[in-house]
């Protein structure tokens, strides 16, 4: 991302934010407003938070209603689209497909059956074919990117730093398989690799396994490492970390979280720092392309 990108997009007219769950969509919308852009939310039914959504001009759309989304964006004169927020992958029977989506159904089904990456990039491509420009949330709101260094007051130890490098190396190896963006490494041992479960569930599971004595690892050791997949479209699927991630890491008895600096999204950095300090865990942004351990 070049430094002048935000200015470049600031003059580009109103922005449509396709918004899923969590607080990130609002932060992105506010950042765009601060840059003087008019923002319209396309709020995903079942995912977006109605309370946040109400604070902006918005339209509710279902996940299977790609045609409606395009129509609203056009009616609001938005050429640029950002997709941001968490998304529960719905069951096909819960999709209420609109006419346009029915026409492209085979593609939607193929996208659903592949990795998350493929699902999101298919949707981005469909928007582009409809004449829209798909921007990354961090292009509109660079302030949401993870900075270098610690968010709270704790720092990783030497052992933690080695675990972090091992985690980044493993993520580089699994990246081509469109699998998760997170691993847990403790004392050089890989405890978990994220796949269809997602980061929060992976942490829950580790806490459970530890409670049952089924995983032996040093209490207060081990790092959750997150980085984007090497081949991933960064406009639509950067890994993210929020206060809930920090709480999950603490419950799993780990030492902290390391995130690829500048390549991951941080929701509410202030709250993250507070939660991390209270839980005695670190949260650091680290250059992910360091030498493998």
């Amino acid at each position: 991302m070049s430094a002048e990108t935000p200015t470049a997009v600031a003059n580009a007219g109103p922005l449509a934010v396709v918004c899923g769950g969590g607080s990130l969509p609002v932060e992105v919308a506010r950042a765009a407003q601060r840059q003087g852009r008019r923002v319209v939310l396309l709020a995903l039914r079942g995912s977006a938070d109605p309370h946040f959504v109400a604070a902006f001009p918005h339209h509710w759309v279902g996940l299977g209603q790609f045609g409606h989304a395009c129509r609203h964006a056009r009616a609001e004169s938005c050429r640029d689209i950002v997709m941001i927020g968490s998304l529960v992958r719905p069951h096909v029977r819960d999709l209420r497909l609109d006419f346009f989506t029915l026409r492209v159904l085979p593609r939607v089904i193929r996208a659903f059956q592949s990795g998350d990456d493929h699902l999101l990039s298919s949707i981005a491509k469909m928007f582009e074919e409809q004449g829209f420009r798909v921007l990354g949330a961090h292009e509109v709101a660079p302030e949401i990117l993870m900075p270098h260094g610690a968010l709270g007051s704790r720092q990783p130890s030497e052992i933690d730093r080695r675990d972090i490098q091992r985690g980044f190396a493993l993520l580089r190896a699994t990246g081509p398989f469109d699998v998760g963006q997170a691993v847990i490494v403790s004392d050089n041992r890989v405890l978990a690799i994220e796949a269809a479960d997602g980061t929060d569930l992976m942490l829950e599971r580790l806490a459970e396994l530890r409670g049952q004595g089924r995983v032996q690892a040093r209490q207060g050791g081990g790092v959750l490492v997150k980085a984007p997949k090497p081949m991933q479209d960064r406009r639509i699927d950067l890994p993210s970390v929020g206060p809930r991630t920090v709480e999950g890491v603490a419950r799993a008895g780990l030492a902290g979280i390391a995130v690829a600096a500048g390549s991951a999204i941080v929701a509410e950095p202030g709250r993250i720092a507070a939660v991390a300090d209270r839980a005695h865990v670190f949260v650091v942004g680290v250059a992910a392309d360091g030498p493998p351990s």
Copy 2:
């Protein structure tokens, strides 16, 4: 493994089988007896099945009692040792260390903190330093290796075969990190990667996530793929499949199991075939070094 190995080891005197849980230790012990070897079990307290153990000359040893194990093996004139069976990684406070183990404690602790591979190969190395020869279970009992082709009557579909090749390719990529020997791939999408949890728990978890609608994948599609890590010492840690694995795969709604033929251990192939046919899943041995998909 060369074809003459079994004959070569048959004339090598009595065999000590360090035996963990499950039915494999007994199958290996019986196979060695069929070859005319005297077999002595070094049964691991808390892991080995007392009922099976009683059928052979045996000594019970604790996991931290490496010195006792060596003493028993020597007293029984065993030069060869096989380590086989499942092992619950105990909590350090539950280890009742003998004097010898205390002396090598720093090494034991280092081994514990690394991957499973490292733990087992450290123990193998300690046996070798004590003058023993560590053999692979499959060298003593080649009949326990997974053959090429299906164990039951069901065969993988074309889609399953592509998932299998993707699984093997992913396992080749994660292998250098001493992480699990199993992955689950469904319609080209990676649903899970085994790490500290183990195969059975990974399957349980997938069944749960599916039940909660948190993972969307075609019911009756998807394959559990197992292969040894590329750098692994095959004498001590080949992946294994048993009737319980088949039941777990059926509960997780998958199509079947693919195992690296000749590089994985099958407990009770007859029962596996019966359970697989009843559950409508396939269990196949496949050349793992085929071209990646």
